[in-house]
Amino acid sequence: MGSTVINIENAVVSYREDIALRGVSLRVKCEEFIGIIGPNGAGKTTLLTIVNGLGKLLSGGVWVLGHYLTPGNGHCLRKKVGYVPQVQNIDPRMPMNVREVAMIGRYGLLGLFRRPGRNDWKIVDEMLELVGMSRLARRPIGHLSGGEQQRVAIARCLAQEPELFLLDEPTASLDWKAQNDILELVKQIHDSRHLTTLFVTHDLSCLPVACGRVVLMKEGLIWGEGSPNELLTDANLSRLYDMPISVVQERRRDTILV
């Protein structure tokens, strides 16, 4: 564990009338793996958007990788931040293949007026190999299943050679096996590359085992943070998700994971 790479102080974000974050403070150290969990609409995604400079702060301050974020300087920061969103709806006829999509990750790094060279393609191919997508590298991206597309999204992120790895519900709407595979992959990447990772999910069973610290969010506030074992008690979860303790216990017993 090293120095602080993300420092959020009292961040407030609002979309029109709704306040998405109401004063959130969080410090993340280098190489940490943090799980951010909470019900839908808790502000988890918004928290990620202020880390990669896409969200607009109303007040408070955000420092990421030594940058103090202001509305203008997000571009250079985003090149260093890999972001994997939920499974996206991709047009099945989109005229791009898997390799070309993974290459998008390097476009920001390359900057304007420069074309990808042999080295860039080499890196992309290595990353596709790492996520197990080499054999589909020349398929049109729209022909892949949701789980395969998420693997490509992870390869795209890694091709970016990021210093921060943000995942926003990457396993939502995937089947069990695909969920498991993606979680395994994320864990493996964190273990081997020591990337500082923020993993957002509303589903506890999708919290990777690699997770060293969890942050509970509800209604735009951080509601608790600590080690998974201490924090993820039935009583806490029952209050977080507004469900009776008995229901929480039943649900946790029925899911094999966590």
């Binding site: 990669n52 896409l54 571009h75 250079c76 920061l77 985003r78 090149k79 931040v81 972001y83 969103p85 996206q88 991709i90 047009d91 099945p92 006829r93 989109m94 005229p95 791009m96 293949n97 070309e100 999509v101 998008i104 990750g105 476009y107 920001g108 790094l109 390359l110 304007l112 007026f113 074309r115 990808p116 393609w121 020349r138 398929r139 049109p140 991206i141 022909h143 795209r156 970016q160």
Partner: protein
């Protein structure tokens, strides 16, 4: 067939206009098809028509009016659709009907003969002047040049705008740049193809190319080829049967689209998956 017609200046101008307009419109069409924004294009082309009529009525250059109006409509619809405040269908309904209404209002207010106005509605590629062609040529070179220079940024933005943003590509700027080029292309081709018809020359060649390839580069090239072919074939038909050229150009491009849709290999995805794509870099 008698080809002595080709020696006339007006015919040479028309052939050159069809070539340039075909390239510019069909290149813009690739954006329109892949970014799923036909609604913006339809609004912009009708807005250009209304703006041109305003120019005719008040006595300033119709093309300036066309350019201003099409950019204005893009500036209104783009952000509305972007933020999801209005569904595209709703905004196209509102702006499209407003623009047609304005167009006919300006036409009604215009004193004297309406032939100039009708020319902008149907297009008249045969009366194109040198200066029309120079303007169209500049726009075409700019459009093609920018696509070439910013190809990777454009490709990423077309694929997924939020993803492009998240890797550090100025995707919002690219999007508005594309809208700006759309406005310029529509304005430059307005006199040749006409405000009512231009959108099909934008959409059809690209939609046809979209049926035929999984490579974006090839889609740009095919689309341009179909655009040029539509223009030339339309001109020939118009000459042979003595009918308005705008209409024959649009009909030709629609026929190309239909043929492409019928023979699209994308309809047989399973069979195609058996053999991998060729190397593409």
């Amino acid at each position: 067939m008698d080809f002595s017609i080709l020696e006339y200046q007006f015919m040479q101008n028309a052939i050159l206009s069809a070539f340039l307009g075909g390239i510019a419109c069909s290149t813009i069409g690739v954006f329109v098809v892949l970014m799923h924004m036909p609604f913006i294009g339809v609004c912009m082309s009708h807005a250009a028509f209304a703006g041109a009529l305003l120019g005719l009525w008040l006595g300033f250059n119709p093309l300036i009016g066309a350019f201003a109006f099409s950019l204005l409509s893009a500036a209104v619809i783009g952000p509305l659709a972007d933020r999801g405040e209005l569904s595209p269908e709703t905004s196209v309904g509102v702006i499209f009907s407003l623009m047609l209404g304005l167009a006919f209002l300006f036409m009604g207010l215009m004193p004297g003969t309406k032939s100039g106005a009708l020319e902008l509605l149907w297009g008249s590629i045969l009366t194109n002047t040198r200066s029309d062609i120079i303007f169209l040529g500049i726009v075409t070179v700019v459009v093609v040049g920018l696509v070439f220079v910013f190809y990777k940024e454009i490709q990423a933005t077309i694929f997924h705008r939020d993803m492009a943003l998240s890797v550090g590509i100025p995707a919002t700027m690219i999007l508005y740049g594309i809208l700006f080029l759309t406005g310029a292309t529509i304005t430059a081709s307005l006199r040749s193809i006409g405000g009512l018809l231009i959108f099909s020359l934008i959409l059809n060649p690209a939609a046809a190319a979209y049926q035929l390839t999984y490579s974006m580069k090839r889609m740009f090239l095919l689309s341009a080829a179909f655009g040029i072919f539509s223009g030339w074939m339309g001109l020939l038909m118009s000459y042979l049967f003595n009918i308005p050229s705008g209409a024959t150009i649009v009909v030709t491009s629609s026929v190309i689209f239909m043929i492409a849709a019928i023979f699209s290999p994308k309809r047989k995805v399973k069979g195609w998956q058996a053999k991998p794509l060729l190397e593409e870099q």
